[in-house]
């Protein structure tokens, strides 16, 4: 092994750099006893953030308030994961800006018609007429419920 040479000048104080120690993981190195049969299968534990967030820079969380999306499984108080990198398409659940507020609805984009559809028969569609601009803020990719 090549060790770095240390050249000292005796006439001056020498700054000593104390580096971080390097730890080498010992999975199944030379070891007494029986090797663990799981060693060959060591993988990373499931990370929920990784599963729920595909684009970390574009992902935000929002708290749901209201009941118009209950049939889509989104209830009052739930947290939704919103991804701004996903393209808003027909049928996707989106966060839109309506009258200066964030609204969660299903996006309807067919035959030149633009609507925001609730998922609850008690609520009405929001219909966008010619010239009206629908601003979609992001696409809802999952919903978190805590019991």
């Amino acid at each position: 092994m090549n060790l770095p040479m240390l050249v000292l000048k005796y006439s001056q104080p020498v700054p000593v750099q104390v580096g971080e120690p390097v730890y080498i993981p010992l999975y199944s190195g030379v070891r007494a006893g029986f090797p663990s049969p799981a060693d060959d299968f060591l993988l990373k534990r499931i990370d929920l953030s990784n599963e729920l967030i595909k684009h970390p820079e574009a992902t935000f969380l929002m708290r749901i308030k209201g009941h118009s999306m209950t049939m889509a499984g989104i209830d009052d108080g739930d947290i939704v994961v919103v991804d701004k990198a996903v393209k808003p398409e027909h049928g996707k659940i989106v966060i839109a800006c309506v009258d200066g507020e964030f609204t969660c609805k299903r996006l309807y984009l067919l035959d030149g018609e633009t609507r925001l559809q609730p998922a609850n028969p008690d609520y009405k569609d929001i219909i966008f007429k010619d010239g009206q601009i629908l601003e979609v803020w992001g696409v809802v990719t999952s919903c978190i419920k805590q019991f």
Binding site: M62, I79, K84, A85, C104
Partner: protein, 431 residues
């Protein structure tokens, strides 16, 4: 080749992402204690609001022009900055984060740069909601200038050719086009030419960037400085300023605040100085430095017609340290020396000076005191805990306990929630 990417009216843009109602509204973000404007939306600029203008001078615009003012929300700006910087880094092979809202990108070996830059700009806007401008040039100074052109072409129609709006690549223009832009640009807009030098140049008849680059380099050096000659060279396309990928450790760390209300008693000052010192010490350890001198100051407000008092003291330490306990002891020792009752104190601060690398050990004579390594481990543990469970989870007792708001804390009456960093404050979506 270099690119400079920066967020337009960054703080205002961050606020607008989470408050759609603030689009198109004149908006300012005020400094701590709601003192003066530190960020302005285009609409606010159009109302004539200047950078740094005191709030009391523009307050009337709330009523007359629908101006909205907010206290700064640094947790939000910090997080949005990280997101923007990560995406910006995709443009090239190297990145220097220059400030919270701007970074230089090294473009070695990148082809089709202008097109790529437009794509990155669109991606940052789509993914984060932050509008940016990108300037590209053969040197950092030229990239900065190109960024200025990209920004002005975008927001001031008629200032520069529209096709240079948002993304401006000076490197792909021909000499005649570049000269044309240089002629249109005030010499004071150049990175590295401050107000004073710009004034001196103008008195000597050098008004535009073109006038400046036509000077002789020897003259620039003799009449001004080598630093300005470097700027001159950079504008001529000769790269003199390298990218700094790793930020150089700070030489000093200061933590100073104006109080929400004037403070009279020593007890409150002790709390404030303890808090400031703890925060500065945290930063000190983060950059792996130690300090051997701490400065403490307190003063009254010049704007109040009350008896004035201003004192500062430097407290030398026996050996360089980074642990909060030692630093607080030193700071409070200094504070008690300079404190005098009977004044409306409005500001205090501490400065850690004379910083050295924590890993450099100065040999010293043994006077029989023991230097405890356990202190370092304790500090490490406290930093980790505060990092994981939130700032202020573990504090020093002299910072004051109890839940009531301390008189010396900042006024932040109009702060928006920490939308992206605190689960209890995430935005609400109606259904």
């Amino acid at each position: 080749m270099f690119a400079l990417i920066d967020g337009n009216n960054f703080y205002c843009s961050c606020e607008r992402i989470f408050q759609p109602r603030l689009q198109k509204v004149p908006l300012v973000v005020l400094s701590n204690n709601d003192g003066c404007a530190i960020a302005r939306s285009e609409e606010a600029k159009a109302l004539g609001i200047k950078m740094g203008q005191p709030w009391f001078q523009i307050k009337h615009l709330e009523q007359s022009a629908g101006l909205v003012s907010l206290s700064p929300n640094f947790p939000l700006y910090g997080d949005m900055s990280l997101r923007m910087m990560r995406l910006a880094s995709e443009l090239g092979d190297k990145q220097e984060i220059y400030s919270i809202d701007e970074c230089f990108i090294g473009l070695q070996g990148i082809s089709n740069v202008t097109h790529r830059a437009s794509e990155i700009r669109a991606k940052i806007l789509q993914w984060t909601g932050i509008p940016t401008c990108i300037g590209i040039g053969h040197t950092k100074t030229l990239a900065k200038l190109a960024n200025h052109i990209a920004k002005d072409a975008d927001r001031k129609p008629g200032s520069y050719p529209t096709r240079l709006a948002q993304v401006c690549n000076l490197a792909e223009l021909n000499e005649r086009q570049r000269q044309f832009l240089f002629e249109m640009t005030d010499v004071g807009e150049v990175w590295g030419i401050g107000r004073r030098i710009s004034q001196q140049l103008k008195e000597a008849g050098i008004k535009t960037v073109k006038d400046f680059v036509e000077l002789d380099p020897g003259t620039v050096r003799k009449r001004f400085s080598v630093v300005l000659e470097r700027t001159w060279r950079e504008l001529r396309g000769q790269s003199c300023i390298e990218l700094e990928e790793v930020p150089t450790p700070k030489k000093e760390i200061a933590y100073t605040r104006t109080f929400g209300q004037p403070v009279h008693n020593l007890a409150s000052l002790i709390e404030a100085v303890t808090e400031f010192t703890s925060r500065a010490a945290e930063k000190l350890r983060k950059q792996q430095s130690k300090t051997s001198t701490i400065l403490v100051f307190i003063h009254t407000s010049k704007h109040r017609s009350r008896p004035q008092y201003a004192r500062s003291i430097t407290v030398p330490l026996v050996r360089p340290v980074s642990d909060t306990k030692n630093l607080i002891n030193a700071a409070l020792h200094g504070l008690k020396k300079i404190y005098k009752p009977g004044f409306d104190l409005t500001k205090a601060g501490i400065v850690l000076m004379d910083l050295t690398n924590a890993q450099t050990r100065q040999a010293e004579l043994d006077f029989g005191e023991t230097v405890l390594d356990s202190d370092e481990r304790l500090m490490h543990a406290i930093d980790e805990i505060n990092d994981r469970f939130g700032r202020g989870t573990i504090i020093y007792g002299s910072a004051g306990v109890g839940s009531e708001k301390k008189v010396w804390t900042m006024n932040q009456q109009r702060r928006t929630p920490s939308y992206t960093t605190t689960l209890g404050e995430i935005p609400t979506a109606l259904t």
